[in-house]
């Protein structure tokens, strides 16, 4: 059966769900459930000592979902490493979605700091899933130092623009020895399907669910989109042609056959 294998774990779902920006915990849970996901990302933030809120973890069934802490907020390798270790100390498996985004406007990842942090965390025994720009050389270097996946972005976080980095993602997939997870910018099931048809191993989606009128239904829609793309990839898509090809026989009707 067609499984996604990351490090030593197998997954049936190829859709990972981010838990940020949902209007409510109920909406978040609905998206998670209907998406069929097995991996959900979470972030770490300072407790507000003066008025602590209750933890969103209480809403996530950890027997069902693998919690994948991210290092969002980290602006350099050192902060990212501290966040990853805190998450582990808080009882998570030693898995981390590595994000180093110095720029608060477009939240694009820093290739240098990401590689540096990845080297430390891999040595430290973490299963590292690094979020990167669609940079084939960086992806190669990361897999060479032992990251469990590479997670190139389709387009900047939250833009819903889909796979605007098609050329580069195609090269990353061609050269990959670890699963390629397209992250960020996938705003519609067609975007997720497109990534999977290109041969991506999985996708991560958050904003598209959080801003949907019906997050649960959107989760179900993406589940089908991801499966559609994966199945089409396996079933062998045809190539694009420049000339039209009749889908009905061209032998003339009511006139002599044509050569």
């Amino acid at each position: 059966m067609d499984k996604l294998k990351i490090a030593d774990r197998e997954f049936t779902s190829r859709l990972m769900v981010g838990t940020g920006k949902f209007p409510s915990n109920a909406a978040m849970v609905a998206a998670m459930e209907q998406s069929g996901c097995e991996i959900v990302t979470v972030a770490l933030r300072r407790v507000d000592i003066d008025n602590p809120e209750d933890s969103m973890l209480s809403h996530i069934d950890r027997s069902r979902y693998l919690l994948l802490p991210n290092t969002s907020g980290a602006r350099d390798a050192e902060e990212a490493v501290r966040l990853a270790r805190l998450a582990r100390a808080a009882g998570c498996d030693p898995w981390v979605k590595l994000e180093v985004t110095p720029d608060p406007y477009y939240l694009l990842p820093d290739p240098i700091e990401t590689l540096k942090a990845a080297e430390i965390l891999v040595r430290d025994g973490f299963t590292v899933l690094p979020y990167i720009n669609a940079d084939p050389i960086l992806a190669k270097r990361l897999q060479e130092i032992g990251t469990a996946t590479v997670m190139p972005l389709g387009s900047p976080i939250g833009t819903n623009k889909g796979v605007r980095t098609r050329e580069q993602i195609a090269i990353i997939i061609e050269q990959a020895t670890v699963p390629v997870v397209v992250d960020a910018g996938l705003g519609a099931p067609s975007h997720a399907a497109e990534a999977m048809e290109m041969g991506a191993d999985a996708v991560l989606v958050n904003t598209a669910f959080a801003v949907a009128r019906d997050p649960g239904a959107m989760g179900a829609a993406f589940k089908k989109g991801v499966e559609a793309g994966r199945e089409a990839f396996l079933a062998g898509l045809g190539e694009q042609k420049d000339k039209a090809e009749a889908s009905s026989p061209l032998t003339g009707f009511l006139r002599k056959e044509e050569s």
Binding site: G18, T19, G20, K21, F22, M28, T41, V42, A43, L44, R45, R46, V47, D48, I49, P52, S55, M56, L57, L67, P69, N70, S72, R82, R85, L86, A87, R88, A89, A90, G91, I157, A184, L204, N206, T207
Partner: protein
Amino acid sequence: MNITVNGKVQQVDDETSIGRLLEKLNLDPARVAVEHNLAVVALDDFEETTIAEGDTLEIVQFVGGG
């Protein structure tokens, strides 16, 4: 004595531990992670980790994130 918790100076009794501090702050130890002077502290060590004048603590918890 004075310590810094999440960037703010706090007055706490001498002779306290991370465990007791969390209690005082009404924080469930199972729901947070703590960095003590830049070193991560394991959940099991909360009780015996004592805090000294001028120590810096970071107390974090999980929130939604992509």
